[in-house]
Symmetry: C2
């Protein structure tokens, strides 16, 4: 028997091609899919669960294109450090102690935070990825997961690549299809050209998305120019990386030629404005990328460098930063900013049934309560979402047609247990 959920009499922000907003409508979910969206009343059967939507705003669940979920254990553990000191004196020593258990509890905490904030899909890259997958399977979130690998140590790199391939094969389409596996070569500066050639050869049969860091810091680009006489983007292009579907994280320091390559090759880009500011990397040329129709969406990066997984914050930062640095308040319009966490993010993942409320799309949905002082009066719901709302205005979250969070309660996760275990793990890692 199919399961039915009906959201009644709510404002519906569809993010469909016309960015249509229905002032008062009804949305019917059957199993994992959106069955109908209508301004007219919809039939309720005796087995239909009804969610009253008056005063509420229904929107697509948010998509977070770049995360290291388990790093939530390192939230507020080491801030305001120079980048290399942060990595070498704080993060790497703590990560050296990481166990499977840490990744499981750290990811569980992150999944809880993301669901609480209306994020229904995320992309991850980290160690012990089976544990991340387990936490996602249990938590009920949709995820694109990569076991990270680097290729600096010859044999070690090849072994890590094999592990990553095994992960891709073992976990693809698990958890009822909620888990997709992808490949995670860390970055051009940790994966030399010969190693990346091998990666491309050995994984050709998988034809899966490749997720990597790209042109994050000024130093990375300068080193690449020194060693390879090419920017990281030009180098990846030359290696044939962009003949495969790629999701590149950061892309902060780009030449006009880089922008041309990324756009024409339809490379997916995760713009991570919060992390880029906080780690002192700068501000990516988002407006230029959008003008060239780049496939770009938003990500938080890990909580150690953000320090939260709040996609509402990233949406606001994406819009405000481009207005501010270009001294032009018309850059970027609120609906375009919101698309970066919904419809355009889905494009970057090449998943047209995500990030949009339309018939036959996946039922990944966040419902916001607008009865809050900072969301009144009722002027423009998309502007309210982009410029005024926060993750904590989310009241109900549905993934794959199932309610996973509702009014303070998680249906899949044990909140107190996760706080306890995450604190226990974090304490050991700090010591």
């Amino acid at each position: 028997m199919s399961s039915k959920l009906l959201i009644k009499d709510a404002a519906i922000v569809t993010m469909n091609q016309n960015q249509e907003v229905i002032e008062s409508g009804n949305l019917l979910i059957e199993d994992d899919l959106i069955k109908t969206i209508s301004r007219q009343p919809l039939q309720e059967d005796s087995d239909t669960t009804v969610i009253p939507g008056e005063g509420k705003v229904v929107m697509p669940g948010l998509i977070n294109l770049h995360n290291h979920a388990a790093m939530s254990l390192f939230r507020s553990y080491a801030d305001d450090y120079p980048l290399m000191e942060w990595l070498q004196k704080k993060i790497f020593p703590a990560e050296a102690k990481l166990t499977e258990e840490d990744v499981y509890w750290g990811t569980s905490l992150a999944v809880m935070e993301m669901l609480r904030g209306g994020t229904t899909t995320f992309v991850d890259m980290y160690y012990f990825m089976e544990q991340t997958a387990r936490a996602c399977e249990e938590g009920g979130i949709r995820a694109f997961l990569s076991q990270v690998f680097i290729g600096l140590d010859g044999g070690e790199g090849v072994k890590a690549l094999q592990n990553a391939i095994s992960f891709v094969e073992n976990w693809q389409d698990q958890a009822g299809g909620r888990i997709k596996t992808i490949l995670g070569p860390h970055a051009p500066y940790t994966c030399p050209p010969d190693f990346l050639k091998k990666v491309l050869e050995d994984t050709e049969h998988l034809n899966t998305l490749i997720h990597m860091h790209l042109s994050e810091s000024r130093q990375e680009v300068e080193e690449s120019l020194k060693v390879h006489n090419k920017t990281p983007v030009a180098l990846m292009n030359e290696l044939g990386m962009f003949e495969r579907p790629v999701l590149a994280a950061h892309c902060v320091h780009l030449t006009d030629e880089d922008i041309e390559i990324l756009s024409s090759k339809q490379v997916g880009i995760s713009h991570n404005p919060g992390s880029n500011l906080k780690l002192g990397n700068g501000i990516a040329p988002l407006k230029k990328l959008l003008d060239r129709n780049a496939r770009i969406g938003l990500g938080t990066d890990g909580a150690a460098s953000n320090n939260n997984l709040d996609m509402f914050e990233e949406i606001m930062l994406a819009a405000l930063l481009q207005k501010g640095i270009n001294e032009e308040p018309t850059y970027i319009k609120s609906s375009d900013a919101f698309s970066l966490a919904t419809s355009k993010a889905a494009e970057a993942l090449q998943m047209e049934n995500l990030g949009v409320l339309k018939e036959k799309a996946k039922a990944d949905i966040a419902i916001l309560d607008f009865n809050k002082p900072h969301l009144q009066p009722h002027n423009d719901p998309i502007a309210n979402i982009v410029y005024s709302a926060s993750s904590q205005d989310v009241e109900t979250v549905i993934v794959d047609g199932k309610i996973v969070y509702n009014q303070g309660e998680f249906t899949t996760l044990d909140e107190e247990r996760i706080y306890y275990e995450a604190n226990r793990c974090a304490k050991r890692l700090r010591e």
Copy 2:
């Protein structure tokens, strides 16, 4: 009989001179003042109201140095417009219809939003200021209020100045001292030098704080250089403005000489990063100002140009923007960023008994609930406040020793009524 409030077993972020954080302590309030802060248990009398503080973080109430509170009616009413079109086609025509009633309900909505978000003191500049004062008196917030005036129309300017002076005299120290009145000449570009000279002469006896917009847009500075051959800051200095206590809003476009003047004259500055980005004005040189020991704190500006009154967002933006644009993650440290909304903001107002938790300071306090996924694990409470928290993590707010907000309930304001009236007023103004 005195009223006593005791917060027990909470983490206490004092923001005193040593920026001391007490991991678990007790804070006793007697009437409007903090009586004792101690790591040891404090005596409870039969008439002491006890607030359990386990898992909670107690911090000074936030200070918002620049607002036009009633503009909350224009939240999300007109976004992503060019600055002049925004003002001339949207904001000015709507403001032309403003009545006393609009300002009362708009301010009530803003007061509710600010209290909900842990802001206990704000600075305002707008029309019909008696209505703002009334809303503040009833809402229980602390406020520094100025009836704005401009001096472009000769006689009209003089009349407006007289009204502003009457407001200062009538409302000074009302609401049990919670309301302080200040003077609000709008800006150098709307108040010509001769008019400002008259303002200084006619108000010398008041010796009250002067609040004005200053060097907000690039255009404003360019015009000033063209007309007066001086930057707005240099012009104000020449007029003798800075011999009086001044709180200048924005200060985005500054020369090194401007920074020197503002610092040496100890001019209070409201840094408003959210508004400055959103309206496309740019990013103020906060790091340079702090390096010169400027008296600087944070403000939201009105909700029409932000679009909320969330000081947590401004704190985060202040820290992140300086790291990002200077490509230096050590600018600005979390405790320094937090001081901009607490102790340093109080300095800018020349009120040493605000923005800090210490004996004999005003009992203006926000209590945060850290039992949230985005605030776990327990690493660094100040970093959590600055980089992870949002206004909605505030659970309890105390102003002048009285609980004004607690776990979803306002003790002074009628939430539903305010939403209803604010929507009614906003609808009329939009039409």
